[in-house]
Symmetry: C2
Subunit: 345 residues, 2 copies
Amino acid sequence: MGGIADVARAASVSKSTASRALTGAGYVSDETRARVRAAAEALGYVATTSAVSLVTGRTQTIGVVMPALDRWFFAQVLEGIQDALLERRYDLALYGAQPGSDARREMFEHFLARKRFDGLIAVGIEPSARELERLVSFGKPVVSVGGYDVGTNAVSIDDAAAARIATEHLLGLGHRSIAFLGGDPDGHRTSFGDAHRLEGYIDAMRDAGCAASIQQVRSAVTVPGGYGAAVELLGDRRTRPTALVGVCDEVAVGAIIAARRLGIRVPEGLSVVGIDDHAYAEMFSLTTLQQKPHQQGRAAVQLLMWQLDDPAAPTHRIYEASPLIVRNSTAAIDDDASAIVGVGR
Amino acid sequence: MGGIADVARAASVSKSTASRALTGAGYVSDETRARVRAAAEALGYVATTSAVSLVTGRTQTIGVVMPALDRWFFAQVLEGIQDALLERRYDLALYGAQPGSDARREMFEHFLARKRFDGLIAVGIEPSARELERLVSFGKPVVSVGGYDVGTNAVSIDDAAAARIATEHLLGLGHRSIAFLGGDPDGHRTSFGDAHRLEGYIDAMRDAGCAASIQQVRSAVTVPGGYGAAVELLGDRRTRPTALVGVCDEVAVGAIIAARRLGIRVPEGLSVVGIDDHAYAEMFSLTTLQQKPHQQGRAAVQLLMWQLDDPAAPTHRIYEASPLIVRNSTAAIDDDASAIVGVGR
């Protein structure tokens, strides 16, 4: 097995460049990194942790904290972070932090203090005052994805704008009775972004003179959650809205499944729009605002590495674009048809 | 901030017991651990990594490698592992390892060699010969969940038995034309467990004298994958089976969505059974074999810790029970009804 000097010689670069290329600490061009890695591989060279730490003063580990793993958004962000970290040969230390859980308390009280990572990516986290205090005393770079953005680097879509566009799409199709579906019953899992989406919906309704029709129906932010809430909401034809904005695609898909079960045709009897462009969106012909959380995860790593390399770098706030994808779950309201259905059944 | 000696004194235990209680290395009763932790918290004591490593020779980190993060099974296992590790104050280092990916190659070639974890939990991994060689030379405890079990500790359901019971449930209802749905078209994402499930189905069909009806329809192991394959399979009434065994609930749910779209009633026109008891199973009234991957994740940590504490401990193979949950997606075949439908449409 060769040493770093052998690797540097084989790749025709300096030892420090070889070290940067192998550890991911500091800038190296893609071409150089590829060459150094090929040389290291040919020589069977593996940078040992202790040696790397001595050179860089880093743990070469990034902590990722998220409240849930079993939602599409979080899994996608995590994959994006993972991919970007692997390219830089950083380890990913994962911490679950469901609001109110022991695990979350452990995370903020114990694991942060242990400082076993160089920086932290917080996904969909809305920290309490106590938790914010802990984050500040952590004293290392923090990037927020789809969560709070008080003074940290942050990546997300513009949640309020996305929900506003979704609502305005329905308003433009003639709908006036539009409900907003989603938001956890006990408030525990409602994320920062979800609250902004509700605001965007409310603003659009107010601006269109539909303030009286504003209605939020709470539900767990999952497919079964949206399903359960929609069965209840849609069950009574007299109070049934003509359209729904789902807080995310999972809730919107749940509503479509509920509508089918109740014999309500989508989009003829009910228009549904979501936010996400989830893996299931196409299967349900769901009109939605598209986001790419995988890319958000990659962007978060980029921002974190930037700040690690240059602690004086300015704080960045990245808004990912979220274009409207019109599929077949939304349609212009047909007053005659709904009148006929009202009489006919 | 107090030292370990202060913590030990406050909790009325020896320093080594206090250390074990705080690091999770070695046996301490739950009662003692709780007392020591309370004392440590009151004193603001946090074990630093380097100090812990000096005492125990451990990194206090467990590596977890899995091919996908966005499937229910993997997310659930990961949450179970996370919960159990947090209780022991171990860190979780996560590695994605989609078959054939650069990330997977990096994992086996680079991260394993770096040995930054005390043990590894491999979830749904079917290693190549080269990868197995790397795992062996890793030289630390490995536990497999829902994957291969060649000489390592392993946790899973009995996949072959689960698929056999699912198939026999349909055979018992009078079905003879039963297809098996699932298994990736390119073979990349077909896990070890999925292959065993296919075997269980084939064995049950053979034993029932239905060898001629054996039919595997490949699909990606996701809801949209099952949906797409089922649309094709069920589209032609002349060759349509009367029942389906899904390789997992996601595929089975996709088939139910496809059936609804094609106007085929479940269970009257098609019986569907899955394996998992996925979060969506109840919403679709899916008959399924229940497994609890969260518990499998916890059990994997238990086995790993056991082996860390006692390297001479025997290798264990845990089969989690997977009871049949009968809901409303399966029914006795009604020869008259199907004959009438055959004529009528």
